[in-house]
Symmetry: C2
Subunit: 115 residues, 2 copies
């Protein structure tokens, strides 16, 4: 099949020890992942500091995404998205403890930085 | 705000003469768009033939996406996605006439081709 098809609703586990990450596509500097969280959060004091751009949305469930320098996490529900520039430090403060939170994350390699 | 936030559920029109396209992010060879269709389809005989990769999913509504060489369109409903390689000729045979179909499309620039 030239164009692989799938469903983001397939095989969503109800309860997980760790987050589940499924890579949906990876090509030409792009990576698309489905992430399923069931109450997980970033460890205390941990911040993501990525040298790539990320575009992430919540498909179902909910989560609190906090950016360094912001007092409160932003609440994300179904349909909500955030564009995260490289090196924008952020962490997941919480995900819905009662039901799976399904994320769609798109990562794109940054251009080489000028030396 | 360092990381722009929005909702894919915002401002979904019920009826449109043409499809509505909202660019959500564009950077580093990546483009993410929300597309809202209300019954539109590709014109008869028209095929998309893109020199970039596309990853597209249906968030709500439904659509028939046909690839050249396949007898029938593939039916896409909420959560269904397709990875469309460069130059995989395809067309939208139909979108739900009764309610808006909301697509999320991710386009990524191809690597320069060897000469």
């Amino acid at each position: 099949m030239i164009a692989p098809t799938g469903s983001l609703s397939a095989d969503v586990p109800e309860r997980l020890d760790d987050e589940r990450v499924d890579e949906l596509v990876s090509a030409h500097g792009l990576r698309v992942e489905r992430i399923v969280s069931t109450g997980q959060a970033s460890p205390p004091g941990f911040w993501y500091d990525q040298n790539w751009s990320e575009w992430v949305m919540v498909l179902s469930g909910s989560a609190g995404l906090r950016f360094e320098g912001e007092a409160e996490p932003r609440r994300l529900g179904p349909g909500d998205y955030v564009t995260i520039p490289p090196h924008a430090r952020h962490r997941v403060e919480w995900t819905d403890p009662a039901r799976p939170t399904v994320w769609l994350a798109v990562y794109v390699r940054s251009e080489p930085e000028a030396g």
